[in-house]
């Protein structure tokens, strides 16, 4: 089971964090800081895995962003790497060649995509198509919410 996933930039700015086990805010901050240091200190040609505390860390850098997952001792590192890649693909499909700014400015969308892909630390759907479909449908629902209301309606005058 995945314990948490972090996205952070080359400069050590956190862009996304998802915790699949309840963790106190203080511990979260400490772990994030520590882990960012460890990962950023690694040289580019190094392998994507490292052991950290009692967890296995799997990370990969895409452009300026690090995608970093913490999995449990018996989990498969390669499949975790694939999970990261799949998530990047999903973001890419959704935003259309995604960049760091997309995730900064639409961070809630990035979370929604992640939530459709992973839940409780497990892969929810192995099919890219069905994940994207679910997101599209939910977005559509959101637009329905928003579109029929004119400004006047909103003001309660219509």
């Amino acid at each position: 089971m995945m314990r948490f996933m972090l996205l952070f930039s080359r400069q050590g700015k956190l862009r996304l964090q998802k915790w699949y086990t309840a963790t106190a805010e203080r511990d979260k901050k400490k772990m994030v800081r520590e882990l960012m240091q460890v990962v950023l200190a690694r040289k580019p040609k190094m392998c994507s895995f490292l052991e950290w505390r009692d967890l296995k860390i799997v990370y990969k850098r895409y452009a300026s962003l690090y995608f970093c997952c913490a999995v449990e001792e018996h989990d498969n590192e390669l499949i975790t790497l694939e999970v990261i890649h799949r998530f990047v693909e999903l973001l890419d499909k959704y935003f259309g060649s995604v960049c760091e700014l997309d995730i900064i400015f639409n961070f809630e969308k990035a979370y929604f995509i992640l939530d459709e892909f992973l839940m409780g630390g497990e892969i929810q759907d192995t099919s890219k198509k069905s994940v994207l479909k679910a997101i599209e449908q939910a977005d559509l629902l959101q637009e329905e919410d928003e579109s029929p209301r004119s400004v006047l309606e909103e003001m309660g005058l219509a």
Binding site: M1, L14, R15, L16, Q17, W19, Y20, A22, T23, A24, E25, K29, K43, K45, M46, C47, S48, F49, L50, H74, N76, E77, L78, I79, L81, E82, I104, F105, F107, E108, Y111, F112, D115, E116, M119, G120, E122, I123, Q124, D125, T126, S127, S130, A134, Q137, A138, L141, Q142, D145, E146, V151, E154, M155, G156, L157
Partner: protein
């Protein structure tokens, strides 16, 4: 009112949205904190408005700020408000914020129960989905208890989108509320064969997680998983299943044998590295559990090692790393297969990736043998010299020591070589591991008696050259070895060639710059050396040398007496006084040597770690009890003034004590000796441990003569290499001798069989350079053997260790002897209130194949089987699967419609079955529908609840439960869970609960901690039945 709304909307146009906030933060890089604090003030204003859109926007911004590390817990209530918006847009944001910010300590979580329940049963699947996703992040034990039933129902939802989410979240629910596992399990198992691949993989995921923690409860699922494994093509699912098998095989070796073949097939065929890696790992795990009793697995091991070699040779660093990792697992049981790839592993030490080098080091640890230890360590020493960065070099250093010292120095044949390696390691600059080297030196010197002479000589050289180690302040870590050196020289000073020189080295003024604890050891051991010097000159009358030594100590020790370190000070002044006294005696020509030596007589034996902990507390000994009752405070207050006036009194009593005569003393001494002999805590000279040292022959072991004046640095070649060379020569010589002997034997046998040369030397052929007596650590006599004090009692998975094959009290069982086993469960149906859903699991217990089964219900006034459209009123349903003989279990779901009043009813059913010889059989059975089955967990707010009670439509009844001794919240949880109630309100010692029947009857309970239940309901017969069932539930436990 309208004006207010208009004003709100206009305000809103000027509000920052998330994008503005992000942009703002990026534009205020210099004063980010200040900017954000103004933003938070704005957000607080926005949250005060009534407009939900404004609130949602504010909460969205807060979620962003939370990620940046700002505390937003104060807005928890606002988040709940946004969650409960009817608009999906806002609900989505609310749940996102909750999943990011809420945790078990968030108190508003308890307000969300009813909202979540409402969302879970929403007709819109995305509302349900969002609620499930959010809940998976912040589910608490209370939420899990209250919502377990709702989520279980969702596992059979018509939409796969909901089903898969419901299945996944069940794992979190189990963790928080373990009682839900048993009733939910049949349905979870059913989902393994869900038509939707997403739901199926979700179920596999959850069961794998469960089984990995408590594998024994899931053994019965093995056949089902085996089928899945051979039929599935989804790599993600396959990996999970294979991993699950890895957890199951240690418990069921037969399973392992069955697995090897399909796994090796997969290894051959798959192109996915992740799957290959998983298969290899599982094959290794299986082989480890099979390691005895399976003759033909060397082929599989070879295959794995081969594949791993390919991974390690790959240019992809990731594969290389994992290859090494998996290799180390094989190493544990099949070291021979790995050792043949030593070249490859040693190559990895040159890799530019440090983590790969470290993995390779780990492997080397397991690969050493008596034969190759020296060679491998030599390679490592070269790496130590080359290594950049202290962390990696330190790692190398610890590995070298680990490798050499593993399993009680098992692989070391030449301890001179090891000591010289340790001495060489002290030359490392800036290492943190000085204490490690030091403890090794001590360990070897104490436990390997034969090496003491050599060790002492080396340590003396180290002490003499101490300035090399301490010269640089950066190399502080390494001065720890001086601690060991001083101790060894002192303790085994009889081996010293020139104790006087060493003594001088230990008392140099420079020593005062060393850390305090090292100085203390220096001082103490200087005294031991002093004793040795005295003894050396024993017998010489008016020995000039002995007196000079005393003078040396008297001159140098005052420096230590002034030390700021208390221990140094104390030891120094004690010894100084002693030496001064001895000097006086020497001047009088009194023989002192023997007595001084007696001060340091006796061996110090190594003691096993945890030795103290392992002594069991003898019966009847209470360590917490007072030995003497402490005087009560009031007494001591009274005594104080007394003491001022009564000074004489205690003197009297004391003098009385001293009047005990010699006889009495001798008697007491005897008694004490007796007591000590029987006391396990008293450290006494145990004859058994003494024996180890007095073992015959140890003292007479021939020690290879070594030039003791080996300098610290041999120019051109490190000295450990000399030993390596010596060792190789020695081994060759031995080998040659052995050959000669063999030849002799052969000649005697007239060379009938020409035996090939023994090829590579086997382990046993290598004899140690000299017999070494490795002293094992001491253990108290009655120590306990157990070593499992490291288990975590707080592991949440412990609670999930539930035997799922045991009969479940709340699912009902029917068994037709030797033929069929049926388990069924009844639940109200949310979508259609006139129906209940009956889930049935059939299990074929017979030897024959059940080809077709038909299921029918004799419809009555109360109940009717729902048949497919177009079917006649008495047609039976064909069970849509066949049951092979054996353990296979299948699940089946159908709907039965209900009408008229609800009382417990029995449905007469029968099942037609036929097997190959087409014998038909009809089995009649009854399904017992309890009233609880017709209750649906329905949320109810406390005000509505109060109104309901006030209305006066409800009839009352009450019940007392006897002999219940469980915590109140467990009691409530049970009622919630088994009888589909929800808690409306809990106040101190009582709780009000509510449920509704599918026909709309209200049932209200007031449960008190005195375990009495007052119940009210608008349908008296239903009420009576429900209370009876509650009583039954609790009589079972």
């Amino acid at each position: 009112m309208a004006l207010k709304i208009v004003k709100g909307s206009i305000d809103r146009m000027f509000d920052k949205n998330l994008q503005d906030l992000v942009r703002g933060i990026r534009n205020h890089k210099d004063d980010e904190a200040k900017y954000i604090s103004t933003c938070i003030d704005e957000i607080k204003q926005e949250l005060k408005q009534d407009n939900i859109a404004v609130k949602a926007n504010a909460v969205c911004k807060l979620t962003y700020l939370q990620m940046l590390g700002y505390d937003v817990s104060w807005a928890a209530f606002n988040i709940v408000e946004v969650m409960s918006s009817s608009k999906f847009t806002y609900k989505r944001i609310g749940y996102l914020a909750a999943s990011q910010c809420f945790h078990e300590g968030t108190d508003v979580i308890m307000l969300t129960t009813n909202q979540i329940r409402k969302d879970l049963s929403s007709p819109n699947q995305y509302d349900t989905g969002v609620a499930l996703t959010g809940l998976s992040c912040f589910v608490t034990p209370d939420l899990a208890r209250d919502l377990a039933n709702d989520i279980m129902t969702l596992m059979s939802h018509t939409k796969p989108y909901i089903r898969k989410k419901a299945v996944l979240i069940m794992y979190k629910v189990f963790l928080k509320y373990p009682e839900s596992l048993r009733p939910a399990f049949p349905r979870l198992k059913e989902k393994l064969e869900d038509p939707d691949p997403g739901v199926q993989s979700a179920a596999v995921n959850v069961i794998c997680e469960l089984a990995r923690r408590n594998p024994k409860n899931y053994l019965s699922l093995a056949p089902l998983f085996f089928k899945l494994m051979t039929s599935s093509t989804n790599n993600w699912v396959l990996i999970k299943i294979i991993k699950l098998f890895g957890a199951l095989t240690p418990l069921e070796p037969r399973l392992g044998k069955k697995l090897i073949e399909p796994l090796t097939n997969l290894i051959h065929s798959t192109s996915a590295m992740s799957l290959l890696y998983e298969c290899v790992n599982t094959v290794i795990a299986v082989l480890i559990s099979l390691s005895s009793g399976m003759p033909n697995h060397s082929a599989s091991i070879q295959l794995c090692v081969q594949k791993l070699r390919i991974l390690i040779e790959d240019s992809d660093q990731n594969l290389k790393y994992l290859g090494l990792l998996a290799m180390s697992k094989i190493l544990k049981t099949h070291p021979k297969s790995v050792q043949s790839h030593k070249d490859l592993i040693l190559q990895c030490l040159d890799d530019k990736d440090e983590s790969i080098r470290l993995r390779a080091l780990d492997l080397l640890y397991g690969m050493v043998s008596k034969k190759n230890l020296m060679e491998i360590v030599k390679k490592l020493m070269l790496h130590v010299d080359k290594a950049e960065g202290t962390t990696y070099r330190d790692e190398l250093l610890t590995k070298i020591i680990d490798i050499c010292s593993q399993s009680n120095f098992q692989y070391i044949t030449n301890f001179e070589w090891y000591i010289s390696i340790l001495v060489e390691l002290t030359r490392l600059e800036g290492t943190r591991h000085g204490h490690l080297i030091a403890s090794q030196m001590l360990d070897v010197a104490i436990r390997v008696k034969a090496i003491r002479g050599f060790a002492v000589a080396q340590m003396a050289t180290l002490l003499d050259n101490a300035h090399l180690l301490t010269g640089n302040t950066q190399r502080n870590g390494i001065c720890e070895v001086l601690y060991a050196a001083a101790w060894i020289c002192g303790e085994f000073s009889e081996h010293l060639e020139d104790p006087m020189q060493t003594l001088e080295a230990m008392l140099r003024p420079k020593v005062a710059t060393l850390p305090g604890h090292i100085q203390a050891v220096y001082v103490q051991n200087a005294a031991k050396l002093f004793a040795t010097v005295l003894r050396k000159h024993d017998g010489e009358t008016e020995s000039q040398a002995a007196q000079e030594t005393s003078q040396l100590l008297i001159d140098r020790l005052p420096l230590f007496v002034q030390s700021a370190n208390l221990e140094v000070q104390e030891r120094a002044s004690c010894i100084l006084q002693l030496v001064k006294y001895i000097q006086k005696l020497q001047q009088k020509n009194v023989e002192v040597a023997e007595e001084v030596t007696a001060l340091f007589a006796g061996e110090l034996n190594p003691v096993a770690p945890k030795a103290q902990k392992k002594v069991p507390i003898p019966e009847g000994l209470d360590l917490d009890a007072w030995i003497n009752e402490p005087p009560s405070e009031s007494e001591s207050e009274d005594e104080k003034p007394k003491a001022v006036f009564a000074k004489e009194e205690p003197k009297h009593s004391r003098s009385r004590h001293t009047e005990v005569d010699e006889k009495e003393l001798a008697r007491r001494r005897e008694v004490r000796k007796q007591e000590q002999a029987n006391n396990p805590f008293y450290i006494k000279a145990s004859p058994s441990s003494q024996k180890v040292y007095d073992a015959p022959g140890v003292e007479h072991i021939p020690v290879v003569q070594i030039d003791l004046s080996v300098p610290l640095k041999v120019p051109g070649m490190p000295m450990s290499d000399q030993y390596l060379k010596l060792e190789v020569e020695r081994r060759q010589k031995e080998k040659a001798e052995r050959k000669k002997k063999e030849k002799k034997k052969k000649r005697e046998k007239r060379g009938k069989e020409r035996k090939a040369d023994s090829g590579p030397e086997s382990e046993e052929d290598i004899t140690p350079a000299h017999q070494v007596d490795i002293v094992t650590e001491e253990m108290p006599e009655n120590a306990l053997p157990s070593d499992d004090d490291d288990k975590d009692p707080n592991d949440p998975h412990k609670a999930l260790d539930i035997d799922l094959d045991k009969y479940v009290p709340y699912c009902r069982h029917l068994q037709f002897i030797h033929v069929l086993h049926i388990v069924y469960d009844i639940q109200g149906n949310h979508q259609d209130e006139s129906k209940v859903v009956v889930s049935v699991i059939f299990e074929n217990k017979s030897d024959s194949f059940l080809k077709s089964m038909e299921f029918n219900v004799l419809d009555s006034l109360n109940s009717k089987l729902q048949r497919p459209e177009g079917a006649g009123a008495h047609d039976s349903l064909t069970v849509p699967f066949q049951l092979p003989p054996g353990q296979d279990t299948h699940a089946f779901l159908f709907v039965s419609s209900v009408s008229v009043s609800i009382v417990a009813v029995c449905i007469d059913c029968f099942l037609m079955q036929s097997d190959e010889s087409s014998t038909h059989e009809k089995l009649d059975f009854k399904l017992h529908f309890t009233c609880t089955s017709y209750l649906i967990t329905t949320p109810c707010y406390s005000d509505a609840y109060a109104k309901l009670l006030e209305s006066g439509d409800l009839k009352g009844s009450s019940l007392r439960l006897e002999g219940i001794n469980m915590p109140f919240h467990h009691l409530l949880a049970r009622i919630c869970f088994h009888h589909h109630f929800s808690v409306v309100e809990r106040i101190d010692s009582c709780a009000s609960m509510y449920s509704r029947s599918i026909q709309g009857h209200h049932v209200c309970l007031l449960v008190k901690t005195t375990v009495s239940i007052d119940a009210k309901c608008d349908e008296p017969s239903l009420l009576g039945n429900v209370l009876d069932e509650i009583k039954q539930t609790f009589s079972k436990c």
